[in-house]
Every structure is written in structure tokens, then in C-alpha cells.
């Protein structure tokens, strides 16, 4: 593995939920990153954010690591879950709740239900 791949592997091993994004969870700098970070924040999920704009090697490295050309990218328990479109679909279908529950990730079920009600 390259140094960058090792660094990414450490990040996704050390944190249950990691979001690779443009900007930070407090200040996202892209609409797609903002959307996913917004969902996680609203659902009260504790996650590590990695700002790819702050590190060009990670920005390129994460695309190769995941074999996925775009950011944001969500990892749960070391597994790549998807980008913005997949996370949106999974949030609305309830699959994201299931994934978090199965992996012992704490989240606010009522908040998740509210997102679904608002988008029904």
C-alpha cells in the first residue's frame, strides 16, 4: 500500500463513521458534501470528517482507494457505503438506519423519520 492508502486505512479503521468531504462538517464547501454531512449531523451521528480540499494527496488517494471518482464518500466500519446519491436513497429508504443499527452506530431514529416525513 502507498503511504496515502495506509493513512486512509488508519482513518477508516480508527473511526466507526468517516466522511470524506469538501470542507468540514461545520463548514461544507460543496452542495453534495453539505447534504451528506447535514443528514449525519441531523441524525446525531458521531463521525470523523476528512476535508479533501485541505490535502491534495488524500483528495486523489481516496478516489483510488475506493475506486469511486467523486466526493463525498462515506465509510462505516471500514466499508465504503457510497456517495451523495446512494446515501440520499438509503436515508429515505431506511437502509441507512439499518446499516447504522447493525454496526452499533448510535443515531437518532426520530430525526431520521423526520427526514423521511419531510421528503415523502
Amino acid at each position: 500500500m502507498t503511504d496515502t492508502a495506509t493513512q486512509i486505512q488508519t482513518q477508516i479503521s480508527d473511526n466507526s463513521v468517516v466522511l470524506y468531504m469538501k470542507g468540514t462538517k461545520e463548514m461544507p464547501q460543496c452542495g453534495f458534501s453539505s447534504k451528506v454531512a447535514g443528514v449525519l449531523n441531523y441524525m446525531g451521528v458521531e463521525f470523523a470528517d476528512v476535508n479533501v480540499l485541505a490535502d491534495e494527496t488524500i483528495r486523489q488517494g481516496i478516489k483510488e482507494f475506493s475506486d469511486w471518482p467523486t466526493v463525498p464518500q462515506l465509510y462505516v466500519k471500514g466499508e465504503f457505503v457510497g456517495g451523495c446519491d446512494i446515501i440520499t436513497e438509503m436515508t429515505l429508504s431506511g437502509e441507512l438506519d439499518t446499516l447504522f443499527a447493525e454496526n452499533g452506530v448510535t443515531f437518532d431514529k426520530d430525526a431520521a423519520d423526520k427526514i423521511r416525513e419531510a421528503n415523502a
Binding site: 453534495f32 483528495r59 478516489k63 475506486d67 469511486w68 471518482p69 467523486t70 466526493v71 465504503f80 457505503v81 457510497g82 456517495g83 451523495c84 446519491d85 446512494i86 436513497e89
Partner: protein, 80 residues
């Protein structure tokens, strides 16, 4: 250089000749598109695998700051 909806469809079509492909220009700027691809080959693949296959068909057009395509909202489905 913005891409036309037709160019995107043609690229996806090369890999998925029998797919139902719908491209929508979200912002009217030739830069933000939504693509829905419905294809039999997606059967038995999860969403990540389905979308990886579509990204592969786009041959690097999505590659960040150097890519011609800034934003493509992807939806992939198996025919019902």
C-alpha cells in the same frame, strides 16, 4: 468545456447498449446533470457496484477539477 446531455448518454450507451437512459440538465448550465440508468446488467449488483460501472463508462469525465463533468447525480436501477 461543458458536456452536452447527448454526449453523456452516448458514453453510457457504449457500455450499456440496451439501457434506458435519462439525462436531465439540472441547472441549464451544461455542468450539473442527473442521469438515470436502468439496465438488466445491474441485477445482482449493489448500488456501489452499479454506479461504479456507470462511472467507468464515463471514462474519467468525472475526474474532479480536471473532469469535464462537475456534477452528475446518478440513479441506477434494474428494470421492473
Amino acid at each position: 468545456m461543458p458536456m452536452q446531455a447527448k454526449d453523456i448518454e452516448d458514453l453510457i450507451r457504449e457500455t450499456f447498449p440496451n439501457a434506458a437512459i435519462t439525462i436531465t440538465d439540472l441547472a441549464g448550465d451544461g455542468n450539473h446533470y442527473a442521469a438515470e440508468v436502468i439496465d438488466e446488467s445491474f441485477k445482482d449488483k449493489n448500488r456501489v457496484q452499479q454506479q461504479r460501472a456507470v462511472y467507468a463508462a464515463l471514462k474519467g469525465k468525472m475526474d474532479g477539477s480536471h473532469g469535464e463533468l462537475h456534477a452528475l447525480a446518478l440513479t441506477t436501477k434494474v428494470p421492473e
